[in-house]
């Protein structure tokens, strides 16, 4: 006879019924992991954010977040802009461009007291292209070159006396500027 047989069966039986994982457990685990992930991502981004804050203290944070916006509507929402079309802004963009990586853009504002000029390219992954803060002694005029992802509307937005005014011009691009 084996000695083990003398051990009462009841002792080796689990005192508690074995609990199999329920769908609710997975949901809780998923939630916990998700929270952990966010915290980790946040921690990773923190030094970068601090650096940005140090390098550009004068730039309004609303403008900064508008640069991360993924659509024209989102850009305007973050800038708190409800632009009015204006004939006093001249936007010079070619009707047709072969290379979307280098599109000349020239903006002149005849509005009194223009404080800021924005360039927005509607089809870009991040539509807000550039912002220029224009002091009083600087003409409300700027000329630069931008990348345009595909044929789309380019907007010139001018912040003047608490209002936003804009002008829109369509440009046709043969080769998009995303690969540049």
């Amino acid at each position: 006879m084996m000695s083990g047989s003398s051990v009462p069966r009841a002792d080796i039986r689990p005192t508690q019924p074995v609990r199999t994982a329920q769908p609710a457990d997975f949901a809780a685990r998923r939630q916990a992991l998700r929270v952990c992930g966010r915290v980790l991502i946040g921690a990773a981004l923190l030094p970068a954010l601090r650096l940005r804050a140090e390098t550009a203290p004068a730039i309004v944070s609303a403008t900064k977040s508008a640069f991360g916006a993924g659509s024209l509507a989102e850009v305007l929402r973050l800038l708190d802009a409800h632009p009015i079309p204006s004939d006093d802004i001249l936007l010079n963009v070619p009707d047709f461009v072969e290379n979307g990586a280098m599109v000349p853009v020239e903006i002149t504002s005849r509005l009194p007291g223009a404080q800021e000029i924005f360039i927005i390219s509607e089809a870009n992954p991040f539509p807000l292209v550039a912002r220029f803060a224009v002091p009083e002694d600087t003409d409300a005029f700027v000329s630069t070159r931008i990348k345009v992802a595909s044929s789309c509307n380019v907007h010139a937005l001018v912040h003047s006396g608490g209002r936003f005014l804009s002008v829109v011009k369509a440009t046709t691009v043969t080769v998009g500027g995303c690969g540049a």
């Binding site: 220029f132 003409d139 070159r145």
Partner: protein, 106 residues
């Protein structure tokens, strides 16, 4: 270290024309290299331009500004030999500052 900023400041008609060219790759992060891997985003984010110690333009750029960003603008006033100072900071925290003086239109 990136190449020096090229600045041309020309006094004319009671104002000054400023041309600023900042050599920089302006990588969007969307471009792929020959091996098919994405090239890390790297672009100028902030530009400060001053004439005789006075800020004349502050620009906030995105990755959608073309490679080697070029800015052209005009200011009222400015005399020959006034110092012009251009500084930029990019998305990696790199910086570059260069100076010149306003030249008289010939």
């Amino acid at each position: 270290m990136p190449d020096p900023i090229r600045i041309r400041a020309l006094a004319k008609d009671g104002g000054t024309d400023l041309h600023v060219l900042m050599p920089h790759p302006m990588e969007t992060g969307f471009r792929k290299d020959e091996a098919g891997a994405f090239v890390a985003a790297h672009y100028i984010t902030d530009v400060d331009i001053s004439v005789a110690g006075r800020t004349v333009l502050k620009a906030t750029l995105s990755r959608a500004v073309s490679e080697d960003p070029l800015l052209f603008f005009r200011i009222k006033g400015g005399r020959p030999d006034d110092p012009v100072r251009v500084s930029w900071v990019d998305s990696w925290g790199e910086r570059r500052v260069d100076e010149t003086v306003i030249s008289a239109a010939t």
